[in-house]
């Protein structure tokens, strides 16, 4: 009996060591950046990102990937934040994100990230609605439903600033974006920050006054395609293929010929609306249709200013992490060697190498 018990104890000890060893083995060396040939990039539904879906359906992504001898698995994910979290965790090579989320999730999480394409900025796609108030000043004392800590929250902070109010003057209620429309219909909602497509639906209600929208802060809510910096450095083919595919789709969709209308109709359908609905969303999305426009926007001195503002907002809301002693913990690099924040800890890079290649017709 005693001997058997000893045997069991010994077996258990061996088992424990084996489990620990297995853990080490399974973890393997965390994916080391190196030359590889297949990549995974995720996109989610948003007016400015629908061209990616079209590019996949029409084989444009595949065409450009083949040209550079790689394969790109461009997957559509249902949940935007989940796609960014997956990218941050390392299971995606690239993802589409708003500038603020690119800073606060992967960059703050230590994942060196490069903004490959500044695709567009929100020019009315995000807005603040009030049921009875008519101006931003009326928000004082109101309850505001929004997705907290998102670009909506940033928009609200900028709106309040414009009326010399602060966040202390309102009460924020975290509300899921899937429930914007249902929530607005309840008596509990006084004001709401929403984005398209829900925003355009809500604007048609009699009890919805648009008191502020992102067209009042143009160029501050930017939608960017981000990729892992190390992966991009070792595999420039990924950058070339993505940028090439992107501007090919944009050149198709911006025209008013049959192919352009067909492309926009397909994108409208994929985002659950019709051509007119999608075009009204595009009207409030400032797309950079040509590489030259994207270059000009990325080079302008406004971009570092904007990112500084976004960073300060993120810092004051605790989004730069626990250990963050100042807003400078994470560095951001812009074209022309401009650096905002800690130059020793650059984690977000706005890079023009590939877009400039496209502008010069070298892709």
């Amino acid at each position: 009996m005693a001997e058997l018990r000893k045997k069991i104890a010994r077996t258990l000890r061996v088992g424990l060591v084996a489990v620990a060893a297995l853990g080490v083995a399974l973890a393997g060396g965390p994916a080391e950046a190196a030359t590889k040939t297949s990549f995974k990039v995720a996109w989610t539904i948003y007016a400015g990102w629908m061209p990616w879906g079209y590019a996949v359906d029409q084989g444009i992504v595949k065409k450009w990937a083949d040209k550079y001898g790689i394969s790109i698995d461009m997957v559509q994910m249902n949940d935007y934040i989940e796609s960014i979290n997956q990218y941050t965790a390392g299971s995606l090579d690239g993802v589409l994100a708003a500038n603020m989320d690119a800073l606060t999730i992967p960059a703050v999480g230590g994942v060196d990230t490069t903004s490959l394409i500044n695709g567009d900025f929100s020019n009315g796609n995000d807005g603040i609605l009030m049921k009875t108030g008519k101006t931003v000043a009326d928000l004082k004392g109101a309850k505001v439903n929004l997705v907290e800590l998102s670009v909506s929250h940033y928009l609200l902070a900028r709106a309040l600033e414009s009326a010399s109010l602060s966040e202390r003057d309102v009460k924020t209620v975290n509300t899921s974006d899937a429930d914007f429309i249902a929530a607005y219909g309840t008596g509990d909602v006084q004001a709401m920050v929403a984005w398209n497509p829900a925003l355009s639906d809500l604007k048609t209600r009699k009890d919805a006054n648009l008191v502020f929208d992102s067209s009042k802060i143009p160029g501050e809510i930017i939608d960017i395609a981000i990729v892992n910096t190390a992966t991009l450095k070792d595999n420039p083919a990924l950058g070339k293929a993505l940028v090439g595919a992107w501007f090919e789709v944009l050149s198709i969709m911006q025209k008013n010929d049959a192919a352009g209308i067909a492309a926009r109709t397909a994108m409208a359908k994929a985002s659950g609306t019709d051509l007119a609905g999608y075009e009204s969303q595009l009207a409030t999305t400032r797309m950079f249709y040509t590489p030259a426009e994207a270059v000009a926007f990325t080079k302008s001195p406004q971009l570092p200013e904007t990112m500084k503002r976004v960073r300060d907002f993120s810092f004051s809301h605790g989004l730069l992490g626990n250990g963050a002693k100042s807003a400078d913990v994470v560095g951001m690099e812009f074209p022309g060697g401009v650096v905002v924040g800690d130059p020793k800890n650059i984690k977000l890079r706005f890079d023009l190498t590939f877009v400039e290649m496209a502008a010069a017709g070298k892709l």
Binding site: V19, P30, N145, S176, T186
Partner: protein, 273 residues
């Protein structure tokens, strides 16, 4: 006889074996976390235990800058109030309708089919309707818990009442008991332990409904915080919150067992917990 089924571990052995799975999970977490942190010291997915410790101090001991409250306690308070209200109302409904459906034939033929159908409605699917009908505030969150838990309690109790030996009811009647006295003196004492059992099994679903409701529209609560933190992958807060919720659930389960043991010792003869 030396057979595996006859072997019993010693007292220390029992403790060691019980702690083993916990230790294995912690070791595996530690290994993976260390590997990820060696690669990227700012990794948010699997923070080190020390990082989580700092986060716990921050949420449990330091007032938040913006609101001035200590978030862990504010969240815990808000969530426990919702949970207690939801479970309390569900228990009351379950008890009343359970006895009615189990004992009174007229009530059973009227209500049992309805309750049977009602209990098949997936509560999560009702959530959007609840929000529109009852608003985004506390009522709809409590209502979701009630809708999720009450039908199960009603059906469970009705079955237990029906299982009571017919002889007991006959005997009580020969001794002159009215329906009311039978409910109060024969039925109630025997099904209260069953009610507590039902409540224990409902704790899991109740937490699920609570967190789902808090994720949609809220200003505080344990589920609210987890979904808010998810926005920037603050696993150093999310993991301790999950552990805290688990702990609260385990404690409530233990408290219910103790109440049941003290009050209805007879119901615990010959069973584990």
């Amino acid at each position: 006889m030396r057979r595996l089924i006859n072997l019993r571990p010693s007292r220390q052995g029992t403790f060691f074996l019980g702690a083993l799975p916990f230790a294995i999970v912690l070791v595996i977490y530690f290994v993976f976390s260390s590997l990820r942190l060696a690669e990227n010291p700012a990794d948010k997915l699997m923070p080190a235990f020390s990082t989580m410790g700092e986060a716990i101090v921050r949420v449990a001991a330091e007032p938040e800058q913006r609101s001035g409250t200590i978030v862990l306690w504010a969240d815990t308070g808000a969530s426990l109030v919702r949970l207690a209200l939801g479970l309390g109302i569900a228990t009351a409904i379950g008890l009343v309708f359970g006895i009615l459906n189990g004992l009174i034939v007229y009530a059973r033929v009227t209500l049992a089919p309805f309750v049977g159908v009602l209990s098949m409605v997936p509560p999560m699917a009702l959530l959007p309707i609840l929000f529109i009908m009852l608003g985004l505030e506390e009522t709809s969150k409590v209502a979701l818990i009630v809708i999720g838990v009450a039908p199960y309690l009603m059906r469970d109790l009705a079955l237990r009442v029906e299982e009571l030996p017919g002889e007991q009811l006959v005997k009580a009647q020969t001794l002159g008991a009215s329906t009311w006295v039978i409910v109060a003196r024969v039925v109630l004492p025997q099904i209260l332990p069953r009610l507590i059992d039902g409540l224990r099994l409902s704790l899991g679903p109740a937490w699920l409904f609570l967190i789902a409701a808090e994720a949609i529209a809220s200003t505080e609560g344990l589920g609210y915080r987890i979904f808010l933190m998810r926005r920037y992958m603050a696993m150093d807060v999310i993991l301790p919150y999950v552990a805290w919720i688990t702990f609260l659930a385990a404690i409530s389960d233990w408290v219910l067992v103790q109440i049941s043991r003290r009050a209805f010792g007879w119901a615990h003869l010959g069973r584990g917990a």
